[in-house]
């Protein structure tokens, strides 16, 4: 076994981690702030990819501008979703899970009706479909872009949540909704914006995944369970999700390096179940609610 190969695998693990993380970011925010299990997250990722495709294909927007545009479009969808449905279900967590699954069904089928079920592709500048070498390590440009966007978003979220007034409000609502309301914080508005933000992040993820692989109505399905596990292992906090994604990405890459991809996946699932057996509240749990 060469050192270069292991190094390659480690760097790849970082890239896989960034993919897992960007898929899970929106979920973390929605789950962390509002306690909503959003099963439509995969469908929102898919919508992000289709938004980018639509803009590029019909309007001719350059790819790099499609990324923020996807954020806006999917955030608006999220906003409508929250106002139209989710806001009535906040005290019924299991029902939000089911209702959002229904939303996913509708979104996937709706996209299929409009765009057909054949795969689409996002054209990107030639430079994105190349790679460069650092020493003996080969690095794909687009993977670096995904990593960079992920880092940027994480930083943005951190600023938003810890350095702005809105962030204080969100954290206040997370701690205690009633108490926050008595300080004049409009919890309903906070939830609405958080949900839209989470949805928008899914949109960004989608516009990136459309380049890594393929734009299909069902493309988001495979990300949902995985992203949820990151959130659950992380205990619903941003830092938790980051660490969970990082660990899983590296483990996945190393397991795949030493065994094969299928077995690597299986191992990750089993490890997560075992981990939660001993830390059911996840990595960074909020203190349990007391009666």
């Amino acid at each position: 076994m060469e050192f270069g190969s292991v190094l390659n695998a480690l760097i790849l693990g970082l890239s896989i981690a960034s993919i897992w993380l960007i898929a899970a970011l929106g979920l973390t925010i929605i789950y962390g702030a509002a306690g909503v299990i959003n099963m439509a997250h995969g469908a929102l990722i898919m919508l992000g990819a289709y938004s980018a495709y639509m803009l590029q294909h019909y309007v001719g927007v350059p790819y790099l501008l499609c990324i923020p545009a996807s954020f806006v479009i999917v955030a608006v969808v999220g906003l409508i979703l929250e106002r139209g449905l989710i806001q009535y279900l906040y005290n019924r967590p299991l029902d939000t899970l089911l209702a959002t699954y229904g939303v996913a069904l509708v979104l996937v089928q709706g996209v299929r009706l409009i765009f057909g079920s054949d795969p689409k592709y996002l054209a990107v500048p030639e430079i994105f479909s190349s790679s460069f070498m650092i020493g003996s390590v080969s690095i794909s440009t687009f993977r670096v872009i995904v990593l960079a966007v992920t880092a940027l978003l994480v930083f943005g979220i951190w600023v938003l949540f810890y350095k702005t007034r809105f962030g204080v409000q969100v954290r206040a609502v997370m701690q205690n909704k009633e108490m926050a309301a008595s300080f004049g914080i409009n919890a309903s508005r906070v939830y609405m914006l958080t949900f839209a933000l989470g949805a928008g992040l899914a949109g960004v993820a989608g516009s990136l995944f459309g380049v890594l692989n393929i734009v299909l109505p069902t493309m988001g399905d495979s990300y949902v369970v995985q992203a949820f596990l990151m959130v659950v292992v992380g205990g619903g906090s941003l830092a938790g999700t980051i660490i969970a994604s990082f660990a899983s990405g590296e483990l996945q890459s190393m397991f795949a390096f030493f065994t094969n991809d299928t077995f690597a996946r299986f191992l990750i699932f089993v490890l997560i179940v075992v981990f939660l057996r001993f830390k059911p509240q996840g990595l960074f749990a909020k203190a349990g609610v007391r009666r």
Partner: protein, 435 residues
């Protein structure tokens, strides 16, 4: 422990008597199909592919091309003098729907034959029902073989035909060292077993073999392993959306198509279109058919189909052509059976039995002459090698000199040889319905 209808009838009656319910109808083998044909009435055939869901991408094309083929056949006078009425059903990409709809088509619609399935998994899901009713399935796709039923006719290449020319061609032109990548299921594994045989004969060297979970889109780990192994070319049996991700990431990770091309059994015109031609260009595909085949029959087929109301997707590819052929194989088999036993007495099984050796000449078959094997009811055909061009079409770089024989048990000689009555083991015993 043979399956016995008589015993079945007795025990079922006994069982129902025990429960006390009088109503029961169990078919004997002669009436398994449960219907008779009448001259003058259209022939009902079932067309069962997914029009919605994940499998719709390839299977919708199959449905369209079959409709086109039956229109063409009906315009030319039908089958045995009567028109064909295809009953089109959506299998919704759900294996239990395949199973349910197969029963509906056979038991309720009483179709005389079934054109169905793209994936092996869905074929496996419906075969028990087809065999039990002694019915007939036309399976128009490449597959792994290792089946010997008395109820199926396949018009696609078997694993032993598929890579026969491809591997030697690649070794000759690019070098001896190869890396195998496939989706993690039966067909790629079986195909790779065959490929290894050809590789050994061609004096090549296998550097590694990796399988990716179906539907997975993360090829980073595999590409890293390939990078370390430094093969001369990659032999790929990755299917579906994964295949597209594979080709994209191949380029994104800095692999160069002229230094290490992918020789694939799957990446055809639709896949290339879906990934964007810049990711497909330069790679190789082995298939019996390409849209760009230069012969009058194919020109007529491509033009006719694309202009017809079924040609909305704007492409013809190998799987569609194989499906198109299956309609003509059905026509020829039916007419032979009708001539032998009389129109009214034709049963699905009779069609199958009389399809042995049926030939589709190059006046009908866009890929050139093919015929049905008299023993295993797969197709003799000429695999061709195409290289993808910058516009997404394929240029044929090599075509087999003669039709290659299909052999579903080529890599399992110990199990026996598939004959028309069943799998004949080396000790002479014959087993029916081996799936």
């Amino acid at each position: 422990m043979e399956f016995s209808r008589r015993k079945l009838l007795k025990t079922s009656l006994a069982a129902s008597a025990a429960i006390g319910m009088p109503h029961l109808w169990i078919p004997g083998s002669s009436e398994a199909w449960g219907a008779t044909l009448k001259k003058g009435e259209p022939l009902k055939v079932g067309v069962l592919f997914s029009l919605t869901g994940a499998l719709a991408v390839p299977e919708e094309d199959s449905t369209l091309v079959l409709q086109y083929a039956f229109d063409e056949i009906n315009k030319a006078g039908g089958v045995g003098g009567v028109p064909v009425e295809p009953i089109i059903v959506d299998a919704k990409s759900d294996f239990s729907v395949y199973s349910e709809k197969t029963k509906e088509l056979m038991l309720r619609e009483k179709v005389i034959a079934l054109f169905a399935c793209y994936t092996s998994a869905s074929r496996k899901a419906i075969l028990p029902t087809v065999m039990q009713r002694d019915h007939l399935l036309y399976y128009p796709t490449c597959y792994e073989g290792a089946e010997c039923t008395q109820n199926a006719i396949c018009t696609g290449p078997l694993a032993n035909q598929h890579s026969k020319d491809l591997i030697p061609y690649m070794v000759e032109n690019f070098g001896k060292k190869v890396f195998f990548v496939g989706s993690n299921y039966v067909w790629p594994k079986e195909s790779n077993k065959n490929a290894k045989i050809w590789l050994e004969k061609a004096g090549g060297e296998l550097l590694g073999e990796e399988y990716i979970p179906l539907g997975s889109s993360e090829f980073g780990p595999v590409l890293n392993k390939i990078r370390d192994a430094k093969p001369n070319f990659i032999f790929s049996t990755v299917v579906g959306a994964s295949d597209i991700a594979f080709h994209k990431q191949f380029k994104q990770e800095g692999f160069k198509v002229d230094q290490m091309p992918i020789a694939s059994l799957t990446t055809g015109e639709i896949e290339t279109r879906a990934m964007g031609p810049e990711f497909g260009a330069g790679h190789f595909l082995s298939a019996p058919y390409f849209q760009s085949l230069d012969n009058p029959t194919n020109q007529k087929f491509v033009e006719g189909f694309l202009k017809s109301k079924y040609g909305k997707n704007g492409v013809t590819h190998y799987n569609m052509e194989e499906t198109y052929l299956s309609a003509y194989v059905f026509k020829a088999g039916f007419e032979k059976a009708a001539a032998a036993v009389g129109f009214e007495n034709v049963t699905p099984r009779a069609i199958r039995d009389h399809s042995a050796g049926v030939r589709i000449g190059d006046d009908i078959s866009p890929e050139g002459e093919v015929w049905i094997d008299e023993n295993n009811f797969n197709t003799w055909l000429k695999p061709k090698i195409g290289q993808c061009q910058g516009d997404g079409t394929f240029k044929v770089v090599k075509s087999a000199d003669a039709q290659v024989a299909p052999d579903p048990f080529s890599i399992y000689p110990d199990l026996g040889v598939c004959t028309k009555d069943g799998l004949k083991a080396p000790d002479g015993k014959i087993r029916k319905s081996v799936i």
